[in-house]
Symmetry: C3
Subunit: 204 residues, 3 copies
């Protein structure tokens, strides 16, 4: 049941990430190959970079048929019902935030399992949650949303630090630490999105 609940969250997140890639592709007038490719790259890019960095090959998506099916479904749905999907911003933002939270924690767990230093594990979590979107923006020739707008990586970072501290220093059980940290990431992300919060930046 626990496992199945996590899997549902992961599928919702993967679906939302793929829709965001498909939407970017449609906005750029990509063809159907471009649409499918960008849905995949956005959804699996973060986990792929993480797996490459720690040497976990073949990378995870190659043997994850369920996620791949969710991505293809997201691409098809985004393509067929684009005008409808565009209006579901709030629902998709919520799924996306869930994906950000879950991928952050998954990434950290992979780092911990590889015996890496704690700050590096947190960095791996943030990379897992955010680099798919970074690749999407770089391929599309857009300035990375990740680096320029919105509280996104910062939410992942805050939840990731919380998870590592709760898990390692306070001995919270993995499940509880995970659930709280994911919830914190989702809440920070959605509240900041609602209020259009931004991080400070330097004036040149």
């Amino acid at each position: 049941m626990q496992l199945s609940f996590i899997q549902v969250l992961e599928l919702l997140g993967t679906f939302a990430f793929a829709v965001s890639g498909a939407t970017a592709a449609i906005n750029k007038s990509y063809d159907v190959i471009g649409l499918l490719s960008l849905a995949f790259i956005t959804a699996i890019g973060g986990g792929t970079v993480r797996d490459l960095l720690i040497g976990a090959t073949p990378v995870a998506w190659m043997t994850d048929g369920i996620s791949n099916t969710a991505i293809i479904a997201a691409a098809i749905i985004a393509a067929m019902f684009f005008s409808y999907v565009k209006k579901l911003t709030r629902l998709l933002s919520t799924f996306d935030a869930i994906g950000l939270g879950l991928f952050t924690i998954t990434g950290i767990d992979k780092g911990l399992a590889a015996g890496l230093p704690l700050p590096i594990c947190v960095a791996l979590g943030v990379i897992t949650g955010t680099f798919g979107g970074l690749l999407r923006d770089v391929i599309c020739g857009e300035q990375p949303i990740l680096f320029t707008r919105e509280i996104y990586a910062a939410a992942s970072l805050a939840g990731g630090i919380l998870y590592v501290v709760a898990d390692r220093y306070y001995g919270a059980s993995g499940d509880i630490a995970q659930s709280i940290s994911i919830a914190v990431i989702v809440v920070i992300r959605l509240v900041s999105l609602r209020h259009n919060w931004q991080l400070p930046r330097m004036r040149t």
Copy 2:
């Protein structure tokens, strides 16, 4: 003889990919380092991404002196005879299509050897055939041709699926399945190029 024929095809393909990178570099006014680098990245980018994803390191080009020599030759020829090379579009398109076909099949074979699921093997074939051009376009700051114009990845995908089906389900001998699949990719690519076929795309 068989081996030698395949090698000739691979060299023609590598040469054409490298020329396409060198041409892009010249069009962007890159210097000689940029020209050589972009020739290499375009020619070996797809195989490199494939090898990284499946964990086959050091990646293939590092021990493939013949291909590297072909790439350097392509860069020099493109730089010295640019006005002449530009006119050979049909010849270069044919070489490029051969490269696309051969790299697709090579990529699939590496996936099969790694015991990966068949759809993933096909994806690896398409990545091998197309991601060099994707990297070229992203580095140059151009919208990826791969995602926006022309039947390119789609030809690779069609031939790749044919290869896997013929090889695994109909037990065609490897050589025959390979030859037919490469021919199918070359024909789809060249016919679609001649007639300027494009894939459907979504209207926003």
Copy 3:
């Protein structure tokens, strides 16, 4: 002492690379997450690509706390004292040239240790020294400085070839060959920068 001197050079180089990433981020109005990320990507990008290509995972920066601290320090200093840091171009160029020299030699040594062919080792050295800046420019949506302006990769290439020849063919002791090669890279880089030398490029 020898070791400590090399480490000081490496920290100066890492610091300069990180400042160059942070500066690019500030010029692009990235937020603090973007600034920190781009400082890291610029400073560790080259070594990361090198490690991925040869399969040395987890990649080096994950267990290199000193470099990571230097990068964070560089990002903070660049952000807090930007108007001052901007004026230190000559000092930063010198540090950057030292980083280019040292990273080139480090990359070559990793290739030699992996038993790769000598030209590939030189290529790995150039990749180590230059691909951080390439990633910085691609993410920022700028044409790569590496490919379009200035003697940068060429300096790395010249020093790298010198190092391999001196070390392998003339049996110079490692320390002497390293020191001379790094000095050659630094001098070529700084002299060419002073005189605004550029490589030839093709006219289209």
